[in-house]
């Protein structure tokens, strides 16, 4: 039994005696006894009337007083949440409840006070008291899993005394026994699980299994301990492989990122295509309406003109012809050539004429040049030139 377990600080561990309520110190008793005896015998040596009878009487009083004092020393109080385990000559008599109690004083009966509601805890795999946040104890924390991986598990077990009598009598050092059992049970349960299960979804299941198993072993020992909770402080891959594990986690994120990016692309492309499709169809519909409308218009115009034409075909035809020619010739540069002479060599400065006119025609000499000169230009300009050529030809 350790010095401060289980009854708190009020008793010394050997006698189990409660200091507060224990009878007065032996030395003190003897001293007071001597004082009183000295008084009596002193009285006698002083030569009083009936010394013998007085002494007898004195001793009688003294004995009675001592008996009363001794009896009073049997009173003790128990705080809430504690139990007193009373033994008579070492044999268990009863377990007493909080409040004022009395036992036959020492050396006949003794009381061992045990706190049954105090939440005690043990730490396996780490020590919280060491200053930094979870000081690891690798010897306790590292363990093998079913798939022969190594994990770093840190566990805290909270417990309280279930049965004060069992706790006091059955096991030498129940607290360190609990720790040994926890280590063993923990490894058993973790060893029966795969690493991924331990590190991720299995946590609560594992904790439950460990708790039940510890309880059953401690009950088997009749240790009088009730495990109230088992907390998995930490379950991690060992430090040596943390990097690889973190990379795997990053990879999982990367996967999601790639998918998100692709979805963003998809979300961009498809609606745009739908928009473009919509435009194409709208345009086609527009075209359809347009051509029919134009056809109707054209035909209507023609039909109306035809009515008039039939009234005077020759005149109308002539008029239309002349008006058309007029409008054509009015807008172009006209050159009248009498080709009846046939053989005359006619020179028309076409390039000069065209210079004055439009850009489109200006491009023509360049084209001819590019065709006639060897292909010394770079490819790009060739392309440009040939495309221009195509333009011109198309025109």
């Amino acid at each position: 039994m350790s010095w401060n377990e289980p009854g708190g600080d009020k008793k010394d561990p050997w006698s189990g005696r409660n200091n507060e309520n224990s009878p007065p110190d032996l030395d003190e008793v003897i001293r007071s006894l001597q004082d009183k005896l000295g008084g009596i015998f002193g009285g006698r040596s002083g030569g009083g009337g009936d010394p013998e009878g007085a002494a007898m009487k004195g001793i009688g009083y003294l004995a009675a007083g001592a008996l009363v004092l001794w009896g009073l020393s049997g009173f003790y109080t128990l705080d809430e949440g504690t139990r007193g385990v009373v033994t008579r000559f070492g044999a268990y008599i009863e377990t007493t409840s909080p409040g004022l109690n009395w036992h036959i004083p020492a050396p006949i009966e003794q009381v061992q006070v045990i706190n049954v509601e105090q939440q005690r805890f043990i730490e396996v795999g780490y020590r919280s008291g060491s200053g930094q946040a979870l000081g690891s104890v690798p010897k306790e924390a590292m363990m093998l899993t079913k798939d022969e991986n190594i994990v770093d598990v840190r566990l805290a077990v909270q417990y309280q005394v279930k049965d004060a009598k069992d706790y006091a009598f059955n096991v030498l050092d129940p607290n360190s026994t609990l720790k040994q059992v926890t280590e063993s049970v923990e490894r058993g349960v973790i060893g029966a699980s795969n690493m991924d299960f331990v590190l991720t979804e299995g946590r609560s299941e594992i904790v439950m299994a460990i708790k039940a198993e510890i309880q059953s072993v401690m009950d088997n020992y009749k240790a009088g301990i009730l495990v109230t909770s088992v907390n998995l402080q930490d379950a991690q891959p060992p430090e040596q492989v943390q990097g690889a594990f973190e990379d795997a986690i990053r990879a999982r994120e990367d996967k999601q990122r790639l998918i998100n990016e692709a979805e963003a692309y998809s979300n961009d492309v498809v609606p745009k295509a739908r928009g473009a499709a919509s435009r194409v169809i709208q345009e086609a519909e527009g075209y359809k309406v347009k051509v029919t409308a134009e056809a109707t218009g054209d035909v209507s115009r023609f039909s109306q003109l035809l009515v008039e034409y039939k009234k005077a075909p020759a005149v109308t035809k002539e008029r239309i012809y002349i008006e058309s020619m007029e409008s054509v010739l009015e807008r172009s540069n006209n050159v009248l050539v009498d080709v009846k002479g046939g053989n005359n060599i006619m020179y028309l400065p076409l390039d000069k004429l065209t210079n004055k006119t439009s850009e489109e025609v200006q491009a023509a000499p360049v084209v001819h040049e590019s065709v006639s000169t060897p292909p010394v230009r770079e490819f790009k300009s060739d392309i440009r030139a040939s495309s221009r050529e195509r333009d011109v030809r198309g025109r």
């Binding site: 070492g90 044999a91 190594i150 059955n170 030498l172 009248l336």
Partner: protein, 284 residues
């Protein structure tokens, strides 16, 4: 007189205290008579003895722990594992315990350790690491208890429980385990990334496909529409123009001339004899 009484009381107290002894709940006791064991199995409480002739030895009756030092054992696949275990035991027979190990708990632990190590060795050599770590823990525990109990009983010891605390790989094996774990994680990481690429590619391809389909469908529908328009227009034209084909040809040509010729910049080289110029040279 008073003196005598006091002396008598003191002598009485001394005599009584020499002739009684207590056994607590946590103790077992043996009573000797001049070295010979005369009684064991005292119930907790007050007991008597004859002063000077009887003497009494007390032993711990609680569950005690034999916490062995970690040791290497060879498994079935000839791998070394470091095993840390503990044994919970209590004194079953005080007399035997006293005679065999002198009633010394440390001695008891040492003897127990020897017995149990041997048993451990044989159990471990039957199993591979996987069985040791995951499946066979309780089987080992029970086998050890049944194997060791008879021998322990000869020492007056009752085995309450045998628990394997740690089964660890030696350092050099641990590091190869770490390497394997790393490689495995690398595999997982690569798998994740590849899966990501795969899914991304699939999504992109699907998007591209959808785009192509949408555009192609749109093209088809638009061409259908245009065709319809063209057909309808042709129908309208045909109906309208078939009334007088000659005039239509003339009329349409005139429009075409107007539309296509005579744009600024065009040069027309004309023959003065053309129909248009019939009044140009000579007035009739």
């Amino acid at each position: 007189m008073g003196n005598k009484i006091v002396v008598a009381v003191v002598v009485l107290v001394v005599l009584v205290s020499m002739s009684v002894f207590t056994v607590s709940e946590t103790e077992r006791a043996i009573k000797f008579r001049l070295g010979e064991i005369v009684a064991v199995d005292f119930k907790p409480g007050l007991h008597f003895k004859i002063p000077l002739i009887n003497n009494v030895k007390k032993f711990d009756a609680r569950i005690l722990t034999m916490d062995s030092t970690p040791e290497r054992f060879l498994t079935a696949e000839k791998k070394n594992v470091i095993v840390d275990s503990f044994v919970k035991w209590r004194i079953a027979d005080v007399k035997t315990f006293y005679t065999s190990v002198g009633g010394d708990i440390n001695q008891g632990n040492i003897r127990l350790d020897q017995i149990i190590k041997d048993s451990f060795r044989s159990e471990f050599s039957k199993r591979d690491i996987k069985q040791l770590v995951s499946t066979d823990r309780s089987a080992i525990r029970e086998a050890l208890i049944t194997n060791v109990s008879p021998q322990a009983l000869k020492l007056g010891i009752k085995i309450v429980d045998v628990q394997v605390k740690r089964i660890d790989l030696p350092n050099e094996v641990s590091s190869s385990v770490y390497q394997r774990m790393e490689a495995e994680r690398a595999r997982v990481a690569r798998e994740f990334r590849s899966q990501g690429s795969e899914a991304a590619e699939r999504i992109r391809a699907d998007a591209d496909k959808q785009r192509e389909i949408i555009l192609a469908n749109a093209y088809r529908d638009s061409e259908v529409l245009r065709g319809e328009g063209d057909a309808k227009a042709a129908d309208i034209f045909a109906k309208g123009y078939s009334e007088d084909q000659d005039f239509y040809a003339f009329y349409r040509s005139m429009i075409a001339y107007k539309q296509s010729l005579g744009k600024s910049g065009n040069i027309m080289v004309l023959e003065p004899d053309s129909d248009f110029f019939k009044f140009f040279k000579n007035k009739k």
